[in-house]
Amino acid sequence: MKQIIAKVISNTRILKELERRRALKRPQPRDVLGSYLLWLDCPELTPKAKPGQFVMVRCGGKTILPRPFSIHQVNNKGNIALFFAVWEDGKGTNWLSQRHIGSKVELFGPLGVDFSIRSDSRNLLLVAGGIGIAPLYFLAQEAVKKTRSVTLLLGAATASQIYPKNLLPSRIKTVITTEDGSAGKKGRVIDLVPEFIDRADQVFACGPIPMYREMYLQRRKFLKNKPTQVSLETVMGCGRGVCYGCTIKTKKGLQEICRDGPIFDLDDIM
C-alpha cells in the first residue's frame, strides 16, 4: 500500500444527474447529481492494483473520513481511473467532482482483496447494477487480457444512466437493461441473468444489497450453483483494518470489509 499525492489528468462528467424520484417512481432519500470519470496520475499504485481493490481518497472540504472508491481502470502509463457518483449533499463526492486538471488529490491504496478468476473458468458473467460497473470494468479488462470470454450485463434506472457505449471495454459482450425501458431491454439487470447463466463458469456482481439478496435467495434460478463473487460496501473509517468500523458477520466469522473484502463469495455473506 502507498500513500501518495496524485495529479488530476482529467475529470469528466460522463453521466448526467439522475432525477431518481421521477425515474424510479419510488421515494429515494438522495439524488445523484451526475457521475464522473476521474483519471489520476499514480505510477506508484498501478503496478500493484488488482480488479476489485479500492483506494481511499482524502476529499478535503468539510470531510473527516476518507472516501472509498473502487479502482475502475488502470492503463500502462501509470494512471488509474475512478468512476464515481456524486450524491446530493455528499460532501466528499461533490468536492471530488470539482477537482480540475492539474490539481492534486491525496489517496492511499490499493486496498482490500481482489476478484479471483479461477484457472479453469473460460466464460465470465459480470452483473453491474448502476454505479456497480466501477470495479467490474477493470475486471473485464484483465479477464480479456487473460483470454477469458466476458459478458457484461449492465443495468440502470434509465438511459441517461447507462455507461457511454464508446467508453466501454472492447472485446467483451455487453447487454444493456433499463428499468424504464428507455435503452436496451426493459427490466432489472438481475432478470437477465438466467438467460446467460448456463454458459457462465463464474459470476461477478456489483450492485445494491437487495440485488445480492435476491440472487442468493433464488440462486437455483439465477445462479445454478455457479461460483459468485460480489463487492460489498459499508461506511469505512480507516480502510486498512485498524478501526473495526466496517466489520460484518459472515459464515467465516467476523470479517472487515476493507481488509477481508470488499470482494466476498456470495455464499459466505448471506
Binding site: 473527516i64 473520513l65 476518507p66 492511499f108 461506511v235 483494518g241 485498524v242 468500523g245
Partner: protein, 309 residues
C-alpha cells in the same frame, strides 16, 4: 534537541518515550497491521497504544458503526477485539522485537475484570505499560461509567495497581460532571499518568428512515469537533495532578499537538486524523520539531504546561 518524555516518573522502571506522539486506542489496531503495509516506519512513533482489550474476545456492535458528523466522527465499534489470550499469544511476540513501546489499552465490566486483565498482562514481554479505559459501563453499578465519578474511577485504578507492576495510564472519560476530581482520585489511587479524553457521547438521526444512524443508537464523538473540549480538560487536569498528562481529542496538526502540550500534556495521542492521513503522526512530529527549532526550544519539557492559570 531532546524530544523524549517520561510518562511514569514515579514508577521504578519508568515509561520513556523517544518523542511525544502516540497513537490513540482503537484507531491503530494492534500496530501490526501497518507493519505489513510498509507505509511508514512505526518505530518512529513515541508509543503505540493498541485496541481496547477485554478478557474474552468481543464481537462488537451492529452496523452501521461509523457516521461522519460536522467536524467529527461518531463511532460505536463496541470494543470488538481478539481478547487478552490471543493478544498475548499472537501480538506480544511481534511487539517484543520493536523499539517503540507498546501500551495495551484494557476495558472491563467489573473491577475484577480489570484486575484479571492487569494480572494476565503483567510481565508479558513486549508490553511496556497499560492504559486503563474507564469509559466502560460498570455492570454491577447499574451501567454507569466507571469514569463518571471519582470513587469508582479510583477503585478501578487501585484494582489495576495491585495486579500489575507495569506503568499504568488511566484514560479519563469526558462524560462526567467534574473531571478534576476524577483525575485527583485516580492519581491518588496510584496511576502513573493520566490520558484524556476518550470520546464524548453523541448521536445522529437519519430523518428519512426516522431512526438513529448508528446500529447501537448512540456512539462516541471524536475528531476536531471535540478538540476545544479536550484541550480545556487537559488544562484543567494538568493543573490539579502531579503526574504526567497525555492529551487526546481531535489532534490533526502539529499546531494542535503543541496546544495540548502547552496546556499541560507531556505527550499526545492521535486517532481520527490518522484515518484520512495514515502517516499523520510523522507530519505532527516534524511540525513539532520545526516549531521547537524556530522558537529555540531545546527540550520538549521546556514548553509542557507553559500556559497556566
Amino acid at each position: 534537541m531532546n524530544f523524549s518524555v517520561e510518562l511514569a516518573p514515579k514508577h521504578p522502571c519508568g515509561l520513556l518515550l523517544a518523542n511525544p506522539v502516540m497513537t490513540a486506542a482503537g484507531t491503530f489496531g494492534y500496530g501490526t497491521e501497518i507493519e505489513d503495509e510498509h507505509l511508514f516506519d512505526i518505530q518512529k512513533l513515541g508509543a503505540v497504544v493498541c485496541k481496547g482489550t477485554t478478557l474474552e474476545p468481543k464481537k462488537g456492535n451492529l452496523q452501521p458503526r461509523l457516521v461522519e458528523t460536522a467536524s467529527g466522527l461518531l463511532n460505536s465499534i463496541g470494543l470488538q477485539n481478539i481478547g487478552v489470550a490471543a493478544l498475548i499469544r499472537e501480538k506480544a511476540p511481534i511487539w517484543v522485537k520493536w523499539r517503540v513501546p507498546v501500551i495495551v489499552n484494557i476495558a472491563g465490566e467489573t473491577l475484577s475484570d480489570y484486575a484479571k486483565l492487569a494480572m494476565r498482562l503483567d510481565g508479558v514481554a513486549g508490553i511496556s505499560g497499560l492504559e486503563v479505559n474507564i469509559s466502560c459501563p460498570n455492570i454491577k453499578a447499574g451501567g454507569a461509567e466507571f469514569g463518571a465519578n471519582p470513587d469508582s474511577a479510583a477503585a478501578v485504578t487501585r484494582a489495576v495497581r495491585k495486579a500489575t507492576s507495569l506503568p499504568i495510564l488511566v484514560k479519563l472519560a469526558p462524560n462526567t460532571s467534574d473531571i478534576s476530581r476524577v483525575a485527583v482520585a485516580v492519581a491518588e489511587a496510584g496511576a502513573d499518568a493520566i490520558s484524556l479524553i476518550n470520546t464524548l457521547r453523541g448521536m445522529a438521526i437519519d430523518i428519512h428512515r426516522r431512526r438513529s444512524v448508528l446500529g447501537n443508537i448512540t456512539g462516541g464523538l471524536s475528531g476536531p469537533a471535540i478538540k476545544p473540549v479536550a484541550l480545556s480538560m487537559v488544562y484543567q487536569v494538568a493543573g490539579v495532578v502531579d503526574i504526567p498528562v497525555v492529551g487526546c481529542g481531535g489532534i490533526t496538526t502539529a499546531q494542535d499537538a503543541i496546544e495540548f502540550i502547552m496546556a499541560g500534556a507531556s505527550a499526545v495521542q492521535v486517532g481520527t486524523a490518522s484515518f484520512a492521513n495514515p502517516s499523520v503522526f510523522l507530519d505532527i512530529l516534524k511540525g513539532i520539531k520545526q516549531f521547537m527549532q524556530k522558537e529555540g526550544i531545546k527540550d520538549v519539557s521546556e514548553f509542557i504546561g507553559v500556559v497556566s492559570g
